[in-house]
Subunit: 367 residues, 4 copies
């Protein structure tokens, strides 16, 4: 109801403000007997952590997740798994420049109006810092999905007007290697360099820029997704649109597909393995989902992020009293959010898939 | 869980298959004492009804909704409001051409795999016929929203590669008049003619084409939307992606915004009415939503529909036994779905807004 | 939220008022491929139907359920199963005696205060007529449970101060035969006669009387129930307390158990079948549930019903304007509700068990 | 779904095992701008804390709750409020006597069967230690309710066969004073002494005993509760049955009411304040709830607790391998749970009332 939970069966609830004591998450509905590797959780958090490169915010956070419950002798027990990530960088800063001023294209005004109060320190709850909790939960979801060989890969496919070419390889491990080899997190090294240079120039201009993340999910079994409202792509869309700064979502052929004709767009079924329960399609404009249910082909989608709202330039605005005012960004902010958001996108996708994988167990046993 | 409900507070559950006895909907959570105009519900259904023009399917359905409960002496009572729409066109057809064959880019294969059974008559539950129930429920939601002067307007802004210019008028009543003046349901008459000619040519070629619908919502109060996962645009995205054939969603600046810089994209606050609780922004790249919460500006979004999968041409496919097969569309199908989908998009938007309007009552009273 | 749905996975939503067009139910989450016997659904409704004996209300209703969706060629399809039961006895009655008067111990006052409007015809939504929809849904749940050999038996174990002895037989079919052999629906024929005579005398005195229903559930697998809040007995309690007129619930040793010592009350584990996964206990004060999870022993509970509020005697009350008034019951009411409520109790128990049986599939596959 | 959340609008999710790092709770849906008194939260926890008297367990826990989020400058912000209570007494104990043995009438067997794994240290998640998190959340709910003058009072009304007389005073503050004046937490001092002596004797015999808690809730507005399934008393029943060791629930006239006649049981409406929207009833067999909705009278209910299962005597049992075994309770356990459970009952009642109070805001604004 109040919007801080996601998922029905594999359900997470996050808490925490940017500069409060801690952020964290409870996972309720994680099956028992899953061997959890805490170093894997940490390695995922490290990919989202601030300060990892010159094109990200320089805020200092180790982002160490501590498991408080739900794990016994290295395995999940089926009880709620709680993780807490302390906020280390809570130094008593001067917030006087934003305390009573509404930063443009931030959530200051809407939070103040909705709740009649807001924690103005670093954006409080509206800060993307909250997504660290999602990444920790996503690591657990990925561990569950790995038992079914389901793999998720996201990378930066666009920054500003720069667009990466389509992926050549479809080997997830290889793709991750390429992506992690550059600070733009693009799976095409040449485009990555272009992106990095561009982000650098934007940063030096005190400005920010938007970007796009493309995702591929492999080895999803046929049958995930619950029509009619909880279609698999509808839940993916909601998950992605719930990430800070996201303004667009498309799957399969997406917006481009809306310009096509049925005779080009239809994905023709074939049966290469001579297995009537594991068909393939010649094309994949459906993005691996038909009628809201996964069809076993790769699931593909793309997410658009607006430019970060905090810029290092003076901007006109209005303060809480309704008076004209001016504001200039201070401190440590990302010039472009997509390199760090890659792991958030993967985490949310993993949460959607884990939820639907478990949900489908209810029905698959009856066939 | 099983995916046939939408909304938390203003919650609908739909039922029914394309060629079963009836389709229908229960609305649970509609407030009491709302005066319902049944002729308004019917007029909404008429806009979605098949057979309304030469560019839509010719299936014959009067789509008459009967209210079974929840209304007493013309007013809602706060109890569940059930509506049933009988399926009139259930004539015993010959389904032998699809009974055991998987139609390309339809849900036949995924339904069969997920459930081990499917009602193959006209697509069963996966048919867009189910959306008539949403339109009926949407009419009730619109009635609720009208009490707060909230207005929703959708129109066809693109068909194939044809794109309508930006709206000139922002007067909803005028826009509806223009839109209903042409069978393409585009608010620009010149573009509408172009679209109609194009759809006609596609239809004559036995083919289909995709399109786009643009939406504007006016007079939304500040405060709707529940961060962090149930952001207003996240719920709109889920609602839209849950409509048959939708492949993309964007709000505010959308995908184009991801190419912009922060300094261009930020919406500057101003206070023209000298009212600190009702600010405006100079631009509206935020699409009326900041931090997942409505800010009082117009809410704007756009939805992409793939081309209808049923085409009147022979296509290769595979049957249930896994054997190669051929299939050709028969009967009465839409060459382009967007003219009829306009009212479905409006209905789903109304359901999201009604749900969040009611949800926000919990919090607004505490300020 | 608005309270007309029950269950998470096997989820029902009911609608309808006592004297509206129809009542009905949607089941969302019923697994596919279950063969439904409509005559079984009808036979269940017949046990709840008014007018079946001299100790029940004489209202005339055939209570025929029509399936509108979710079933194809006799089998469930995994899509929502909607059933409608028309209200036949809607004759234009004179409601002037209750239209603006609050009947004592009825829901007239609270509905009027909560909703600002009420359908006063026969109690509207607050009438127990709504439970017919639950019985229809319960019949589907029982069909699902029968696949796992789970059997539910309820009978009238108390009327007024009359109390039936403990059950001798534990053979469900035999118990049903005995119960259905008398109009009190008590599994002890001698006590049944006593109850019938007593109810008759109460009825003739224009009065009503309360009673108790006892339940036994057999063959439940170990593992149903979700700690900590959704304990199996907590959901059973909620289900029972949601039935009209219920004022008390106890399971296993119940209130009497609260007078006992641990040394008498503890159920000692034994392993008669030499099967470490199917233990038994020597006693069953736990009522088949430990830590909120079924342990494989018989589940036992008891439900208390207050006397029906409508009596055929003049009573003082207050009208909607706040003025003193008098009211006398008219027409066709039950002198004692428990004989007809037996099947409602079974239906709600079946819905709880079906929900938890499906829910547990998520976890059982991971062991 | 997995059962660790309670409430729809004012929703809590608890986590933690008896001997893990910590237990805790997230409250999602607490309205903004509530001034929180941390010392009040602590004083509530102190009433549940182990080791507070000779008739409770001697486990040493300070039970200090730390707020991690959702509060800014002493006020709630509308964002999730997380509280953590570290487990101090985690000393490396010898659990060899229970590690592979199923304690009679505990949850060892059912947890092992359901999850295939269990944290055997002190019962893990099935331990009543988890209820400390509920008490902390309940203190926040009470703070919310206090804004509407709603007061909740619970006390020990029965231990074994000892039964307290009906309450004389209805002044909550006076009642709390009396109750807190004795370690049995009974509002009748003479009965309290009797109870204490009896519990002492039971403890010395290495045994345990059950008991009963009675509750009165004052100043509830008319209108709380959502028919038909989420009746106010149905949610209270579920809340109470979800507390460890509870075996029975009754409200208003309860089981005794099922022996009465309608003519005695009906509560006659009167209008002493000459206010048609605030009627009273002469009697209150309805327990303040009619048709599932509060009617403004005192809400009354009673809860039955079985005797604690851990006794200091040898008992026969079966181990995980299915072999006969013997077990004897060790350490620090309550001989009777009700004196400490009083505050848990109040907390759960507060959570139900807070949830329904907020839920009703959706509807009350439409009248």
């Amino acid at each position: 109801m109040a919007g801080n939970s996601f998922g029905d069966v594999f359900r997470i609830t996050t808490f925490g403000e940017s500069h409060g004591e801690a952020i964290g998450v409870i996972i309720d509905g994680c099956p028992a007997n899953i061997t959890l590797d805490e170093s894997f959780i940490q390695s995922e958090l490290d990919k989202r952590r601030p300060g990892q490169s010159r094109i990200t915010t320089q805020r200092k956070e180790s982002d160490t997740a501590k498991i408080l419950s739900g794990v016994f002798e290295g395995k999940t027990t089926g009880t709620p798994l709680a993780m807490v990530i302390p906020n280390e960088d809570q130094r008593s800063k001067d917030y006087s420049h934003i305390k009573d001023r509404y930063r443009p294209s931030h959530a200051d005004y809407t939070y103040q109006m909705k709740y009649g109060i807001r924690d103005y320190r670093g954006g409080g709850r509206s800060s993307a810092r909250e997504t660290a909790a999602r990444v920790a939960a996503g690591a657990v979801a990925k561990t569950l999905l790995a038992q079914s060989d389901i793999r998720i890969f996201a990378h930066v496919s666009g920054v500003g007007k720069i667009e990466a070419p389509n992926l050549v390889s479809h080997d997830i491990d290889e793709l991750i290697n390429i992506r992690e080899g550059n600070i733009a997190r693009c799976a095409d090294p040449a485009t990555a360099n272009e992106m990095i240079d561009f982000i650098d120039s934007v940063r030096k201009a005190g400005d920010t820029v938007g970007g796009r993340i493309s995702v591929i999910i492999q080895n999803t079994p046929v049958g995930l997704g619950e029509p009619v409202f909880d279609k698999l792509h509808a839940d993916l869309a909601k998950a992605m649109m719930g990430i800070n700064a996201v303004h667009g979502f498309e799957y399969g052929s997406g917006f481009a597909g809306s310009q096509m004709r049925g005779s080009e767009h239809n994905d023709i079924f074939v049966n290469p393995a001579n297995d009537a329960e594991h068909l393939k399609t010649l094309t994949n404009f459906s993005g691996g989902i038909q009628g809201g249910i996964s069809n076993g082909m790769d699931i593909t989608f793309r997410v658009a992020f607006k430019p970060v709202a905090t810029i290092m330039r003076p901007q006109q605005t209005v303060n809480q009293a309704g008076e004209a005012s001016e504001i200039t960004g201070k401190g440590r902010h990302d010039p472009c959010v997509v390199p760090r958001a890659v792991i958030i996108v993967e985490a949310m996708a993993a949460l959607v898939l884990a939820d639907h994988l478990l949900k489908n167990r209810i029905y698959e046993t009856t066939k």
